[in-house]
């Protein structure tokens, strides 16, 4: 169930929120678990059964680790390894099996038996939540969750289940006992959700239609300007799609009395790649930092040469691979990793960038844009060819479709809107915003903005179901 789908917006969301407010507080947790499982069950009965087993196994392994907490022998370590390894194997099996099968078949020519596993939506997210839970228990950052309902809610909480933000058990469980449903949270959540919905349906989906057209063409069948438009359009689409989803998730969390972590902080203002990853998908970057990078740094602490650089590269390799089972995702990760490692190398040698901020900004955005092309492409070869066209290294075919074929008035307007929405106006125009904040107009202005966004978003959602029956061609 997608947050911007009609079934979610018009049925699930109101039922869930109203239900949560009407139900007795001591039953609310169970109500939310049921709602979350129903949300997941919309993808199918088998995925739900697998998810429940996955949660129970992780709950049990957490208890085992807690039981072995004071163990002086290898038991504690073995239990932790078992817990983390089983989660990794689960993720590899459900997300990467076809990819590995393809590699083995391609390199050895041996046809492996096909194992059809059901698609588990959000598997990368809930497995990472489970790994962080097991890891934090091992390092005594948190106590194992004794109440299975609390653990199940942490893992299955529907606002963050399918696309994050990736939450830590410590942050989430603390809110279970202090869960407050009140008008403040509800109105904040409603506002945030509406902003997210608007980002998704007014900006991301509209740009997505144009981007899909461009990337549906053969890589060399777009002219240079069209290829650049596709890359830029996708950069905006993915940001507003993902940050819109995060806003909706955070908004839903607020409506239900939970504060979920932020995931974005104006990433398209970054001045270098490390800065970009501090602003983009923050919960994933911090997860890799805490559970991969720091442990690697510690393990390899005796290695003095290129340690942090290679660890950075490893983290970015894993980041790329986490995003999808395909070489283009891995190369995308390594592409970012290459520059992030180089920045680490320069910082270690106290080399300061002398280029003006605008140059650093443009170079960073160029790197990001190139990365997005690889990310969006259906495969690595396509991505390389597409980039070849963008940079004039490959002569594109003449398809007769000019830039304005794709860049019509509406797309131009949305692109401008998206650029404006990437700017932190509140930070830039502190005085007027402060003035507004202190005035009587503050609430009416916010209400009008909210009504416009909500009205337009609902109109777009309903219009997306318009499908006419083509007849006259024939």
């Amino acid at each position: 169930m997608v947050f911007s789908s009609q079934i979610f917006l018009f049925i699930f969301l109101p039922l869930c929120i109203i239900g949560a407010y009407l139900i007795r507080p001591d039953f609310r947790k169970y109500f939310l678990i049921l709602a979350s499982l129903a949300f997941f069950a919309w993808t199918g009965k088998r995925p739900l059964a697998i998810f429940v087993v996955f949660a129970i196994v992780n709950y049990g392994m957490g208890l085992l680790q807690g039981w072995l907490r004071d163990d002086r022998g290898p038991g504690k370590k073995i239990a932790n390894w078992l817990a983390i390894l089983s989660n990794v194997v689960f993720l590899l099996a459900f997300k990467y099996l076809p990819f590995f099968t393809e590699i083995v078949t391609g390199s050895t020519g041996t046809e492996l038996p096909k194992i059809e596993l059901p698609v588990l939506l959000g598997v990368s997210f809930f497995v990472f939540s489970a790994i962080s839970y097991q890891y934090d228990i091992y390092y005594n950052k948190i106590a194992p969750q004794k109440n299975i309902a609390d653990f199940l809610l942490y893992l299955s909480f529907f606002p963050k289940l399918l696309q994050g933000p990736i939450t830590r058990a410590g942050e989430f469980s603390g809110q279970l006992t202090n869960n407050k449903l009140n008008l403040d949270n509800l109105s904040r959540g409603v506002y945030r959700f509406t902003v997210g919905l608007a980002k998704k349906v007014i900006i991301a989906d509209q740009l997505g239609a144009m981007v899909d057209q461009i990337f549906a063409n053969p890589a060399t069948a777009n002219g240079v300007s069209v290829a650049w438009l596709g890359a830029f359009g996708y950069a905006m689409q993915i940001f507003f799609d993902f940050s819109g989803y995060t806003d909706m998730a955070i908004g839903l969390g607020q409506m239900l009395g939970f504060d979920l972590p932020e995931n974005f902080n104006f990433p398209y203002l970054a001045l270098n790649i490390s800065d970009f990853w501090r602003r983009w998908h923050i919960t994933l970057s911090s997860w890799f930092r805490d559970y991969v990078f720091y442990p690697l740094e510690f393990k390899r602490r005796k290695q003095k040469v290129f340690r942090t650089e290679t660890n950075t590269l490893i983290v970015f390799f894993l980041t790329g691979f986490w995003h999808g089972a395909g070489w283009h995702f891995i190369v995308w990760g390594l592409w970012h990793g290459l520059f992030a490692s180089f920045e680490v190398f320069l910082r270690a040698r106290k080399v300061k960038a002398k280029a003006p901020a605008i140059v650093r900004y443009l170079v960073t955005m160029l790197i990001v844009l190139v990365g997005w092309v690889l990310f969006r492409s259906p495969g690595l070869q396509y991505g390389v060819q597409y980039l070849g066209v963008m940079f004039g290294l490959i002569k594109p075919l003449d398809t007769g479709l000019t830039l304005t074929w794709y860049l019509n008035g509406k797309i131009a307007y949305i692109l401008v809107l998206s650029i404006l929405a990437c700017i932190p106006w509140k930070q830039l125009l502190t005085k007027p915003f402060d003035k507004l904040s202190g005035s009587k107009l503050h609430d009416p202005v916010l209400l009008v903005a909210y009504l416009i966004l909500l009205g337009f978003s609902i109109m777009m959602v309903m219009s997306s179901s318009y499908s006419s029956f083509i007849y006259f061609k024939f």
Partner: protein, 490 residues
Amino acid sequence: MKSTLFKVLTVIVFFAVLLLPVLESDKIGGALSPNENRYLAKFPPLFTENYNFSPEFKSGFELWLNDNLGGRQKLIQLSKTINYRFFGELGFSGYRVINGPNGWLFYAPDPEIPYIVNSFVPDDAVKMNIKNSFERIAEGLKGSNTALVVGMWPPKFDVYPEELPSNLRLVNTYSAAEAIDEELKNASGFSYASPFDELVANKSNFPTYSRAVDVGHWNQYGAFIGYSALMEAVKEHFPALRILTEEDFSVTEVERELKTDWGFASRETDLHYEPKFTRSAIEDAGFFDRINFVSKDIWKSYRYFQNPDTTLPKAILVGDSYVWQFLLQNMAESFSELVFIHYLDLDQLNSLAAVVEPDVIMLTGQGFPAVWALSQVSIQNLSAEIISHDTPATIERGESYNVNILVRNTGDQSWSEDDQIRLCIFQDGKDHGYRVHLPEGFTLEPGQEYTFVLYNLRAPAGDTTFLEFQMLQEGHQYFGEKERVDIVVK
């Protein structure tokens, strides 16, 4: 927000916006949506006939919800109005329509783009393939004394390339349709109807295609040029053929109008052809039911016309909306029987030909893709005669009978199980799947006879029944004579 009032307002508006459309939804569904030209989804049944939970309920419920939320039509209209007023979007959602600088509209879905901008032009091998294929078809039809006429209707964008929007640039000045047109003009063995040049030449007198009322078709004037070209090509085989001319009609100018509920509107002048004569051809709507015609044509555009003058030639016309929306009535005047099928039903051509035994087959279509598809049809002369059978006129309950059916291959193709040629037994007018197969490895050559044996015929539940025997090519066509026998059950 700081004020409680505004917080309450925010929450109330939010839930009102989400709940009201559900409360106002059409709970039953299934209404006709004229703008979308389709029926909206119905509310799905929760249980199957066996009182099990329906596995289709979930997807059906989503479809129903998406289609039937309260205010949906109004919001769609508002969205289209905004898109049209502010961004000039034409609003023909579901398919792309583009508009040129002078307001000409063109149907332009993605697959059409290479033909619109001429980025695809067939090479010599493709052109030769099409020409040779039609020549082969014409040669095959000679055995049954049937003439072949091919017609290509040029697409609107090829006749009016100057009216295309400037964001499309023609890659070649020569279009795929023009390339095929040139090639087929020099073909032999069949006649070729080519209104291309005339449609272009005449557009300076009067538009030959609709400017902005119809996004893809010619207008009545252009259609008449197309009719004349096709009939001239048929006349090469039937010199006495009657072709209607403008003198047969009183031609007047009429206004055509397109109005949409989102604000887009256009008007244009077309010609109206009012016949001065009394039409003699009569449409027979039951023809296709009688021959068990199995169609893939979602518009059910197939038509059958009969003319009292049985000396006129019989014709099968394959085409598209350029034909069935514009030409059929006039064409029917010149044939004793005229059968029109859409080219989506091209695989039915052989069985239809076996029933109609036409004097001429006309294969027509718009532009290169249609002509290419038409050229790939394989004409098979499958024909059969039921010579005799020994079906008992009376059968007793509980008894079983063997029936011998002697069939002759009267076509020019051999029959075998490999080609899935079988005898079909209809019961009470329905094909329930009863088949009698030819032995594996056996081939029945043209002119030869074979006795099919239907084993263990048993009495059905009722007091009477009837069987029909007819040959068929499984999955493609029934063919040949159909023999009926009535049976009384004791």
